[in-house]
């Protein structure tokens, strides 16, 4: 595997303390027939160099739009209306399209859920990886090609030199996602954004891709911002987690803390609705009643209040801020309960029995 020093671009040393990505009270809105709709509201998060952060939420939580806002890939009707997105020291909000093109691919790589639609069906994968290198790095055709083979080897494409001439349809879903990762890493970005990278894949292939993402981070030091709906995937890959609900960050903190002792009732309910890893057909699955509110009819107070089991009068009228937890660890939650010291009960997945798989 190539080391960082062989990567084509030089970049600031990881030693400096500036986060790779810092999103501050971001609002993103889309123009619709019924007026502007705010899809992301007051979202803040940071990713430090080499760190792996997961954004988790259900559909409509705003997690993908947050990622697209960072990449400047919002549709023409979408716009960042408030807040700042800083990549190292550079403000990305308000950047021209031209300037953004230099950021995408070089400083930030991105992979998407569906590798089939992201690769161009009429070009060979060799051409596409080579192109990704040559757009940003001043390399000759031959050098770019060598680097492409190196990248394909790194992401685990068997027999990469001959696979260079294969077209996307000749590869399986997992292989295509590997090619996408190779393209995203082509210029040695500081940050890799992965939006549901394994959702379209089978579970055995998912395990391989998650392993590749872990390895990439360990060996290249690329920071990872992972967007997912799957809490187990978060547990497998991330160090810190940001939980989003209805466009807002409702909780964030170290994965081990958030998944074992959630402070926001939504996180707790989400954890409870995951089928436990025990064979017990007598118990019903715990559900979160109701559905995510539509952006047109957001509740005035806490956005989770209509579905919350711990709802109080105050929750319905006043929106809670995202506040740091009193225990001083790097945790925040958006809940009036955080004032009191009682975390929502009955949610520790650590107490679940697990099955050892003999091998």
């Amino acid at each position: 595997m190539p080391t960082r020093s062989q990567a084509p671009t030089t970049r600031p040393e990881a030693a400096d303390d500036t986060p790779v990505l810092r999103i501050d009270s971001l609002n993103t809105a889309f123009q619709t027939r019924f007026g502007p709709v705010e899809v992301v509201n007051d979202a803040s998060l940071t990713v430090h160099a080499g760190e792996s952060v997961a954004v988790v939420g259900e559909s409509g939580s705003g997690k993908s739009v947050t990622a697209l806002s960072v990449m400047g890939l919002l549709e023409s009707t979408g716009e960042v209306t408030h807040g700042s997105i800083r990549l190292r020291d550079r403000e990305l909000v308000g950047l021209s399209n031209r300037a953004y093109r230099a950021v995408r691919g070089r400083d930030v790589g991105m992979i998407f859920q569906d590798p089939t639609t992201c690769l161009d069906p009429v070009y060979t994968i060799g051409h596409q990886v080579t192109q990704a290198i040559r757009v940003h790095a001043d390399r000759g055709r031959r050098a770019a090609r060598e680097r492409a083979v190196e990248l394909l080897t790194m992401v685990g494409i068997p027999d990469p030199a001959s696979r260079m001439s294969a077209y996307p349809h000749e590869l399986s879903g997992g292989q295509r996602q590997r090619v996408m990762i190779a393209i995203a890493l082509a210029c040695g970005p500081d940050l890799l954004i992965a939006d549901e990278p394994t959702t379209a894949l089978d579970v055995t292939v998912q395990a391989q891709i998650l392993d590749l993402l872990r390895r990439t981070r360990r060996e290249l030091g690329t920071a990872l911002l992972l967007i997912t709906h799957d809490l187990a995937v978060v547990s497998e890959v991330a160090e810190r987690v940001v939980v989003m609900y209805a466009g807002q960050v409702v909780e964030q903190g170290p994965v081990a803390d958030v998944l074992t002792a959630p402070r926001h009732p939504y996180t707790a309910a989400l954890l409870r609705s995951v089928p436990p890893a025990v064979t017990d057909r007598s118990t019903r699955l715990r559900v979160i009643e109701g559905t995510v509110p539509s952006p047109h009819t957001m509740p005035d107070g806490c956005r989770f209040a209509p579905r919350c089991a711990h709802v109080m009068d105050r929750c319905v009228t006043e929106q809670p801020p995202l506040v740091a937890a009193p225990d001083g660890r790097d945790r925040r939650s958006r809940c009036w309960l955080a004032d009191t010291d009682t975390p929502p009960a009955g949610s520790a997945p650590g107490t679940r029995a697990t099955t050892e798989v003999p091998r």
């Binding site: 559909s59 579970v203 055995t204 998912q206 089928p275 064979t279 650590g350």
Partner: protein, 341 residues
């Protein structure tokens, strides 16, 4: 490990939840021809389902699990009589589905229905909910129009919607609500058996739990048999009585759910279980990825044990003969590959 016993004909010795098998599938095989263009009219065959046998009793849930392309959905369609098998039989209440024609096949389809994976593409956007749910009633000429309206209202209430929803259209509903409509549609003709083809994999986790609970309640109330097709082992563990693991068109292991998860025997089953991401992964050392490579093409399956090219334990003898299903514990059968020894 595997006792030297003859391949078993009927692997289901476990105590049935109730009565006789409602569905008995024997040696089911489906090959799809691959057309190669004008000069090569037949380029090969995809062996989508190859000699698959299982039984489901009334009130029982049998899960078919496996990766995409393993033949689990094709099996579901064969059972429904939506596809004609290349070989083997599907007997439902003692009658052979594969030989049914005309009125008899229509009656079979009334008694066995399907819930599809994608609640967005499986509901006709031009019909209102009443039309979608009532379509089966009209086709099977069940009741007068006013009786059908009453039945539609009843069904919508049953799945947790409101009778008023009958006049609305699918696009006005969320994914979870649409799946409820899909379930109401499937239940309209009072079937005894549902094929559930990945019924919740398109839904959010919190909504998945709602739909799974609904399916379970319906099973308890009506004694429905389910053929539950899924790739999600966590979910299967929660809903199935028995599990059949499929790989490249074959069943490689079949067992009561608890036995399968407690004591998986086939290397593929073990790899599949090991690959499931775990909520407590952050607190344990990262596991080695057990399985390399991906599912080979079913058009050209490996000789002998089909799992051999990806199997961490493969031995040369694995290539010689197709492993026969062997009973290793009551109700627990496994394709006994030579690599077990």
């Amino acid at each position: 490990m595997i006792p030297e016993t003859a391949p078993v004909e009927s692997p289901h010795d476990a105590e049935p939840p109730s009565g006789q098998p409602l569905l008995r599938v024997n040696g089911l095989t489906k090959h799809f021809p691959v057309r190669g263009g004008m000069l090569r009219p037949l380029a090969g065959t995809v062996r989508a389902v190859d000699d698959v046998s299982f039984e489901v009793r009334g009130g029982e849930t049998l899960a078919l699990v496996g990766e995409s392309g393993c033949g689990k959905s094709t099996t579901g369609r064969l059972v429904l009589g939506l596809l004609r098998p290349t070989g083997g039989t599907v007997r439902y209440s003692g009658r052979d589905v594969t030989r049914m024609r005309g009125a008899e096949l229509r009656e079979h389809r009334r008694r066995m229905q399907i819930v599809f994976q994608d609640p967005f593409s499986s509901l006709d956007p031009r019909l209102n909910v009443g039309g979608i749910v009532g379509e089966g009633l009209a086709i099977h000429r069940m009741g007068t129009p006013s009786e059908r309206r009453g039945r539609i209202a009843e069904l919508l209430t049953l799945v947790g919607l409101s009778p008023r929803d009958a006049g609305r259209f699918p696009h006005q509903f969320s994914g979870g609500q649409r799946q409820r409509i899909g379930i109401a549609r499937a239940l309209a003709t009072s079937p005894e058996f549902l094929v559930c083809d990945e019924p919740v994999s398109a839904l959010d986790v919190s909504i998945q739990a709602q739909i799974i609970n609904l399916l379970r309640d319906l099973q308890h109330e009506r004694g429905l048999g389910y053929l539950f097709i899924s790739h999600d082992l966590n979910l299967v563990r929660h809903i199935a009585d028995r599990v059949c693991v499929m790989y490249l068109g074959e069943i490689v292991e079949s067992a009561p759910t608890e036995d399968l998860f407690r004591d998986p025997r086939h290397p593929y089953t073990r790899a599949l279980l090991a690959a499931v991401p775990r909520l407590d992964a952050h607190s344990r050392p990262p596991e080695r990825v057990g399985l390399t490579g991906e599912l080979p093409s079913p058009a050209n399956p490996p000789e002998g044990c089909r799992f051999r090219p990806r199997c961490p334990r493969a031995v040369p003898e694995s290539a010689t003969a197709r492993p026969a299903l062997t009973e290793v514990a009551p109700g627990h059968t496994v394709a006994a590959c030579p690599c077990f020894n």
